[in-house]
């Protein structure tokens, strides 16, 4: 416990202030002021995060209790912030990358109206606030608040250009897909509450012994469902590519660097539970791997620059889950970090390109941009190398760590993983080559317009490029440098319990070297092949055929979902509305009324005005009464 950590509340609070100022004052703020406030609060948060990080690095953690969110006889949920190694690392990533993207946005969103501009920044601030809440929360419920909060911001930002209905649909899709996952998360929380009566991390983790194996497996599976939603894994990944409808900085921040890693954060946070549930771990690893491969294959054939990056994000997230699944928590978190750097970089670079192209996103209309935009080009190339896992760029170290752990668990995982890495290198350099190499294929008007982006855009690119290059050096494997894996040492306290249960597989150095060599070599081949092939890319009008068409159409997964979920749901709702509700339930209710009316009409015919009939009926009544009284 360290009193100097008392100020952690400022970290999320500042973005909240920014959100409120920008949101409420959006009609009165100039663009400069809005941008300044928006970025400034994040910068302040970042600085505090850095400060906090260094305190935490000294081994100080902090659990701050502010007020009782819910305090009843049956449940206590404090509004708690927990600052420890894991969250402080994420704080850095979120505020750091977030700040850069805010800066970037001040320029990128310049074309907007002042009040929309302010709105944009307020949303962005709100997002950072939610994300901080997510990682700082001291229990699952606060985490869930942030969890849904980021979903909301994602929704708002994807649908930022709300006049376009496609964008709105994408936003809606993202939110609903997320909600499906959220339901899993919630059920897991309920399970915890039901069994342990608490959702506080430290109490849950301290009391895992009270849970049966079935409970743990169930809880972790449900948590993982939540993670698949937020982190775009099979089967809930399809929203992420669509989410590219939002402004590019948003894609960079939310749909690449931070929000989508919430699932990884959550599992890393709950690592002890997952370690105790090997079945879930296997599921996580398989899903992660499958996602990595599936998304990579799709990315091979995409032509939209942001779509490629989106699928690559899905694919990389798959790697992270693979890491989590095989118990390489540090590796996964490491990959989150490096991925944040290079993927943010790539997105921002893509944004720069799009900006320069006047909104054009189709790579077939690009080409040869390296002449016009040198900074973007170089930083983008560095990002590509990093993601392709080329040593000594950051991606190499993190991905390698995951693959090594996967090999230790099951060599088949490794083989598939390497295949994915190969494809990654291929599609990234396809992207790179199509965009920057070769000749320009767009209209002349676009060509005139081409220019390097302003400093507010290039500055974050440069910073991120540097990080993408050196970011991996905090996690150099043991075999290269004794004590080189500083990240592992730093995160050690978080995963202590897990490490006790599942001892790390030590493997011979030779094996490790071989594995590395193979993966690097494979990636390199793919890289070179793609570079060569697509530098000379010419627009063709031939349709893709065979497997290529399937890939270009994303394995028809959207269509599949449409057919097995959306359509049946629609017919079901139509059936319920038109048949069940109208005819059966309401029909029954009205039918009672009609029956009464009908009965009334019929029964009044008895009253036919003839005395004879009346008397006859009376006599019959008399007879009946006599029979009842005398003989029954």
């Amino acid at each position: 416990m360290n009193n100097s950590l008392q100020i952690v509340w400022l970290i999320p609070f500042l973005p909240l202030i920014g959100f409120l100022i920008n949101g409420l004052g959006r009609n009165n703020l100039s663009k400069t002021l809005a941008g300044l406030i928006g970025s400034g609060v994040i910068l302040a948060s970042f600085l505090i995060s850095v400060y906090v990080f260094f305190i935490v690095k000294d081994g100080n953690t902090h659990l701050a209790h502010y007020f009782d969110f819910i305090n009843t006889a049956s449940i206590k949920v404090g509004f708690d912030f927990q600052v420890d190694q894991l969250s402080s690392l994420f704080l850095l990533i979120i505020t750091g990358v977030g700040f850069l993207i805010h800066v970037y946005s001040t320029s990128y969103m310049q074309a907007e109206e002042p009040k929309d501009f302010a709105k944009y920044f307020s949303f962005l601030n709100l997002f950072v606030f939610s994300m901080l809440l997510l990682v700082m929360g001291g229990n699952y419920i606060i985490m869930f608040i942030g969890w849904e909060g980021v979903g909301l911001c994602s929704y708002l930002l994807i649908g930022y250009w709300f006049k376009n209905n496609d964008y709105n649909n994408a936003a809606k899709k993202a939110f609903i897909m997320n909600r499906i996952g959220d339901l899993g998360f919630l059920l897991a929380v309920f399970w915890l509450l039901a069994k342990l009566g608490t959702a506080d991390y430290h109490e849950v983790f301290a009391n895992t012994a009270k849970l049966t194996a079935f409970d743990i497996t169930g809880i972790t599976l449900l948590l993982f469902v939540g993670a698949t939603g937020k982190s775009a894994q099979i089967p809930l990944y399809t929203w992420l590519p669509d989410a590219m409808a939002g402004p590019t900085p948003v894609s960079a921040l939310i749909h690449a660097a931070t929000m989508v890693t919430a699932g990884i954060y959550m599992i890393a946070r709950s690592n002890i539970l997952f370690t105790m549930a090997p079945a879930t771990q296997t599921v996580v690893a398989i899903i992660g791997l499958a996602t990595a491969i599936l998304a990579a294959t799709i990315a091979l054939k995409q032509n939209d620059i942001k779509k490629v990056l989106a699928y690559s994000t899905v694919s990389q997230l798959g790697y992270m889950f693979l890491g989590l699944g095989v118990g390489a928590y540090t590796g996964a978190v490491f990959h989150v970090m490096t991925h944040a750097f290079f993927k943010a970089l790539l997105f921002l670079g893509a944004g720069s390109v799009i900006h320069a192209m006047g909104g054009e996103q189709d790579m077939r209309n690009m080409g040869g941009l390296k002449k016009h935009m040198s900074i973007t080009h170089i930083t983008f190339l560095l990002g590509c190398l990093a993601i392709a896992g080329m040593p000594p760029f950051s991606g190499f170290f993190s991905k390698d760590e995951i693959l090594a752990a996967a090999f230790a668990k099951n060599p088949a995982f490794w083989v598939i993983g390497v295949l994915g890495a190969l494809m990654t290198a291929f599609y990234m350099f396809r992207l790179y080559a199509m965009t920057f190499q070769g000749k320009f294929r767009g209209t002349t008007e676009q060509e005139h317009h081409l220019h390097e982006s302003p400093a507010a855009i290039t500055f974050p690119l440069i910073i991120l490029a540097i990080l993408a290059v050196i970011g991996g050096w905090i996690g150099i494997p043991e075999i290269f440098m004794q004590g080189g894996h500083r990240l592992e040492a730093f995160l050690e306290p978080i995963f202590t319990q897990s490490n006790v249960i599942a001892a790390k597989h030590e493997m011979p150095h030779v094996t490790e070297y071989t594995l590395m060599a193979i993966s690097v070599l494979a990636a390199l081949i793919a890289l070179v092949y793609a570079w060569n092939k697509f530098s000379k890319y010419q627009k063709t009008s031939t349709e893709e055929a065979g497997i290529g068409k399937v890939l270009a159409n994303k394995w028809y997964v959207d269509e599949l979902y449409e057919a097995i979920f959306v359509k049946p749901l629609q017919s079901l709702t139509a059936f319920l509305t038109n048949i069940i509700e109208k005819n059966i339930i309401d029909g029954f209710v009205n039918g009672v009324g009609k029956a009464v009316n009908y009965g009334s009409r019929q029964i009044r015919l008895l009253q036919n005005g003839l005395v004879g009939t009346y008397v006859l009926l009376m006599v019959l009544g008399i007879l009946i009464l006599f029979i009842i009284q005398l003989f029954l």
Binding site: G593, V596, N597, G599, S600, R601, I603, R604, L606, Q607, G609, V611, T613, Y614, V615, L617, M618, L620, G621, I622, I624, L625, F626, I628, Q629, L630, L632
Partner: protein
């Protein structure tokens, strides 16, 4: 003892009638207070006066007073024989009083006949109107038929009674199943009493007669006379057959259910408000039959309350109905705008008939249900009763809807008014308001009536 008072009214119009009535009410109430007879007349124990009877008579007389006040002018309009009408009404009232106080079957018989015969005449008093004639004849024929049945009943009862007596609390029933002869007499009597209170399946005269009779007399028939019949019914069955209640409860349950069912269901489809009220009176009779079904103290309290609540509301409604041009439900369209006082009071009457809390109608239904449940048998009947009450809301509220939520038809607009404006004096409105207030006061404080029973 009341006969003398009636005579002096014979030749006098309304005001004498009202004055005389007030005098009787005061006498009655004094007697009720003191518990001592006011005039000592030797009736050879053929009448019995107790708090229950006297309370009922007070209620009946008060309702009649209200009826005179509200509808006196309309009685004058029926025909040329106004004083005779008043006299006949007084005779009926005398019959009602006898029916409420009888102690022997003879007085019951006479009382019921005195109630009926003037009514046959009143029904047919609108001589030019064929409907009125027809109603009178139907009423008469069927009434005479039921008299025959009643006499058979009395004869069998007398025959079965080993005491050989006509006193109603003097029937030697002994333990166990009642003798067949008495059972036959009981069924005959039940049938004829059911006829008088228009319980199904002996209700057939009711709609036609109520519909055909001049509206102002329908009002009287449907209220005071009918509840008089009920008092006779419950007194007869409580005193004579109370001990073997269980043996005929099923029978009355069947009658009750049939009455509720037919009354409510048939009322739903009626277009004429007058006819609808006739059916509704059958339906209300079904509820009142629950008192006879239950036959306990709650039932008796409730029956008195029901008499008051039902009579007040129905008299008020008929008083309004008389003023209308058009007796169909559509004829009420837009009344809320034209005559808000009439519409609002009519609404209170209808709510009371439906049994909405805050009105006397609720309290009375509540007592009935409580009585029936307290009895502890045949819960299905109670359930059935409330379902029927729900149906009753359907037709009562149709009138409310017409008054407030529908526009008057073009015809009415041309006509100028829905109601006969010249008849609606401020005094009339005031009386309606008083009636409505009475209903609400009784709804809030039913003990204003029921407490009399505990003296």
């Amino acid at each position: 003892m009341f006969g003398g008072v009636f005579f002096k009214n014979k030749a006098t119009p309304k005001y004498w009638a009202i004055a005389g009535l007030v005098a009787i009410i005061i006498a009655n109430c004094l007697e009720l207070q003191s518990g001592e007879p006011f005039f000592a007349i030797n009736v050879s124990n053929m009448l019995s006066f107790n708090s229950f009877n006297l309370t009922f008579i007070a209620v009946a007389l008060s309702c009649t007073l209200l009826y005179f006040l509200l509808s006196g002018r309309d009685i004058e309009k029926v025909g040329a024989n106004t004083p005779e009408y008043f006299a006949l009404i007084f005779f009926v009232l005398c019959g009602v009083c006898l029916a409420a106080t009888f102690n022997t079957l003879l007085i019951l018989f006479l009382g019921i006949e005195i109630m009926s015969i003037p009514l046959y005449i009143l029904t047919g008093s609108d001589k030019r109107n064929l409907k009125s004639n027809e109603a009178a004849l139907k009423y008469f024929l069927m009434g005479a038929f039921s008299t025959g049945i009643m006499l058979m009943g009395i004869a069998f009862l007398y025959g079965g009674n080993s005491e050989g007596s006509f006193f109603i609390n003097n029937i030697n029933l002994g333990e166990g199943k009642m003798p067949v002869m008495i059972a036959i007499g009981m069924v005959f009597l039940m049938i004829s009493m059911s006829f008088k209170v228009s319980a199904a399946p002996f209700h057939f005269w009711t709609p036609d007669v109520y519909d055909g009779a001049p509206t102002v007399f329908t009002s009287f028939m449907a209220t005071i006379v009918k509840v008089g019949g009920f008092i006779a019914f419950i007194r007869l069955f409580e005193n004579s057959f109370g001990k073997v209640h269980g043996q005929w409860q099923m029978l009355i349950a069947v009658i009750t259910a049939a009455t509720l069912f037919i009354g409510n269901l048939t009322a739903v489809f009626q277009q004429s408000v007058k006819r609808m009220l006739a059916y509704s009176s059958i339906a209300q009779a079904g509820f009142m039959l629950l008192a006879i079904f239950a036959l306990n103290d709650t039932a008796k309290e409730g029956l008195i309350l029901y008499s008051a609540a039902y009579s007040l509301a129905t008299i008020g409604l008929f008083a309004i109905l008389i003023k209308m041009h058009d007796y169909t439900i559509d004829g009420f369209n837009g009344l809320g705008k034209q005559q808000p006082v009439l519409a609002v009071t009519a609404t209170i009457f209808l709510l009371s008939l439906t049994g909405i809390p805050l009105t006397a109608g609720f309290q009375s239904k509540f007592f009935m249900l409580m009585a029936a449940l307290r009895d502890g048998h045949q819960h299905w009947l109670v359930l059935f009763a409330v379902l029927c009450a729900a149906v009753s809301a359907y037709y009562y509220f149709k009138i409310i809807q017409a008054m407030f939520f529908k526009e008057g038809s073009q015809d009415v607009k041309d006509h100028g008014s829905i109601a006969l404006g010249e008849n609606i004096t401020p005094a009339f409105k005031l009386l309606l308001i008083i009636t409505a207030v009475l209903i609400i006061v009784l709804g809030l404080f039913p003990w204003l009536i029921t407490e009399w029973l505990h003296y």
